[in-house]
């Protein structure tokens, strides 16, 4: 059961957006069956508007990554559906994958930049491949676009010729962003993108994400266990605990006047408080 207090529920209604760009409706994900069944996500409702930055916070095992994987079409929900621009594009109970014509609109970057890039591909190739897949461009043009994207992320032509292993964690994560931006998506889902990179690289990446959000009107769903990051980057937030969304609302309100005990625990656990 989603443990929303009536006040939090009211706030959720109040802050809900009427015509969202991307929406997950009553999403449930159950792994296994019978006595072994595990509800990773229970009847979650999430939405993001065009150009908006929302956060999903919670600890390991709270279901936030599973929910994100449903939204990008990597994980079929056990119940519920994903809607993009008002149209259902991915739902429980069918065999159909998310249609290719919709898939490009939502892209994801992952927690670990060390494992999310192919070690045998040069940096520019990894991005050019994404450009080719999504835009069906000839090799030379795909390469030019890849380099342009990489430059915009602060990766030089020289670094683009390297293999991922000679780049730092922060640089690799910026390569992942370039790759995700190849199809010119409308939503970027970032799953703990800063948790395995250094602090000085973290500030660079966050500035970059903010710039993309404002300049490209890119919607961002930012997944993190770090409320400090979420406070800085997002205007609305969902708090997840053990598969349930336990609190949702404007980031400022949720952090200043948390209604749920779990949200308060998360806030009190921030180092330095």
């Amino acid at each position: 059961m989603a443990a929303l207090t009536s006040e939090a529920e009211e706030k959720l209604q109040h802050d809900a957006i009427t015509d969202p760009l991307l929406e997950g409706r009553d999403i449930s994900v159950t792994f296994g069956r019978g006595a072994e069944a595990l509800d990773a996500v229970r009847a979650a409702n999430v939405a993001v508007d065009g150009g908006e930055a929302v956060g999903i916070v919670g600890e390991s095992g709270s279901g936030k990554t599973t929910l994100a994987r449903v939204l990008v079409g990597l994980q079929r929900p056990s119940a519920g559906e994903v809607r993009l621009e008002g149209q259902p594009i991915f739902s429980a109970g069918t065999e159909q994958r998310m249609p290719r014509s919709e898939r490009w609109k939502t892209q994801m970057i992952f927690q670990d930049p060390y494992s999310s890039l192919n070690p045998r591909m040069r940096v520019w190739q990894a991005v050019a491949e994404a450009v080719q897949v999504w835009k069906s461009l000839p090799g030379a043009e795909a390469r030019a676009q890849a380099l342009q994207l990489l430059n915009a992320m602060g990766i030089s032509d020289d670094q683009a010729r390297q293999f991922p292993k000679s780049l730092s964690g922060g640089q690799r994560q910026r390569v992942s962003v370039a790759r995700a931006l190849a199809p010119d998506p409308k939503v970027l889902i970032a799953d703990e993108p800063t948790s395995s990179i250094d602090q000085s690289a973290q500030a660079q990446l966050l500035n970059l994400l903010r710039r993309l959000q404002s300049e490209r009107e890119l919607a961002i769903i930012f997944i993190s266990h770090d409320l400090g990051l979420v406070r800085y980057l997002t205007t609305r937030v969902y708090v997840m605990q053990k598969g349930d969304i336990v609190e949702a609302g404007k980031t400022e309100d949720v952090l200043e006047r948390p209604q749920h005990a779990y949200t308060r625990l998360l806030i009190d656990s921030i180092p330095g408080r």
Binding site: E59, S60, S168, G169, G170, Q171, D198, Q199, S200, A201, Q202, A203, Q204, L206, N207, R210, H225, D226, L227, G228, L229, R231, Y232, L233, T251, L265, L266, D268, S269, I270, P271, G272
Partner: protein, 309 residues
């Protein structure tokens, strides 16, 4: 031969807690290994400098000497110790191993000792946990077991290398307060390594900041937090999101951290530093010098105010 640390300095008194902060590749872990004599296992060694513990010189000491120090006098929680437990052995087998490495306890006594240790690190149902294998334990529990093993022989100093990095924030909070409580109960000194200045500020009295294998600033946590005297320390503070205003850019350090094998000549931080001038590029890595209440390796330490506008 590739230098990975050059010019690192750290000292602490009995019962004191000192943090080491720095980014990946800055040499934090290598420094820890130098302090517990395990550099040779990683194909490295101390070329110059000294390691003194309780008045005893340990740099270059033979393994025989280190065996009497490591575990017994200095407890160590290695980085990514969540993977440090052997998956096929029970907690009991592994804990008893760290207890009886020196002592001559009977099996029965050792088990009692192991239960007492688990209770010391606030593990409920210690008897049951003794029978468990690591995959049956949560990350927080595994870290408690690792701490239990590290303090098994009542060391005078505990070195914890990124003990909370892979843990959730709520568990991090629990582990940090456990470490603090144990320090007081056991009169231990502590060296806590972290890439997160906020974690160190919460637990430690003093902090030493490392950049590219060198100590760049050291002193009381409060002094470094109020008035840092090295541009890198300042940058670590101002680039933090918890101090940032939503909607405004973070003050990021430009460029990338100098990596091992490609340290720049001169002060290693100069390519990323707004105060850098000809002298910084020309002279070698500056040594720590006293200024205000701390030590700084910046030749422009008195010009820090220029960075604030």
């Amino acid at each position: 031969m590739l230098p990975v640390i050059d010019a690192a300095n750290l000292s602490l008194d009995r019962r004191q807690a000192v943090g080491i902060v720095g980014e990946s590749g800055s040499g934090k872990t290598m420094l820890c290994r130098a302090l517990i004599g395990t550099l040779p296992r990683h194909g490295a060694g101390i070329v110059s400098g000294t390691v003194q513990f309780d008045g005893q010189e340990l740099a270059g000491a033979p393994e025989r000497v280190w065996r009497g120090i490591r575990g017994r006098e200095i407890g160590y929680i290695p980085q990514s110790s969540l993977a440090g437990l052997n998956p096929v052995l029970t907690v009991e087998t592994q804990l008893v191993e760290s207890i009886t490495a020196v002592g001559s306890l009977s099996r029965q006594q050792a088990r009692q000792e192991a239960v007492a240790l688990l209770e010391k690190v606030r593990i409920p149902r210690a008897q049951q946990v003794l029978k468990a294998r690591s995959h049956q334990l949560s990350g927080g529990m595994r870290q408690r077991v690792m701490i239990a093993a590290a303090i098994a022989q009542g060391p005078k100093l505990l070195i914890a290398d990124e003990p909370t990095t892979a843990l959730d924030v709520t568990i991090q909070r629990e582990i940090l307060s456990l470490i603090t409580q144990l320090r007081q109960e056991l009169n231990m000194a502590l060296i806590l390594v972290s890439h997160d200045l906020a974690v160190i500020e919460e637990v430690c009295d003093d902090v030493m900041v490392m950049y590219a294998g060198a100590s760049v600033e050291a002193g009381p946590v409060a002094a470094l937090s109020k008035a840092p005297r090295h541009p890198y320390t300042r940058a670590l503070r101002v680039s933090r999101v918890d101090r940032a205003v939503p909607g405004q850019d973070l003050e990021a350090i430009p460029g990338d951290a100098a990596s091992v094998g490609s340290w720049p000549a001169g002060c290693r931080f100069w390519p990323r530093c707004a105060l850098a001038d000809e002298a910084c590029r020309r002279d070698s890595q500056p040594a720590l010098m006293p200024i205000a209440q701390q030590l700084s390796a910046c030749i422009h330490a008195e010009r820090m105010a220029e960075l604030e506008q």
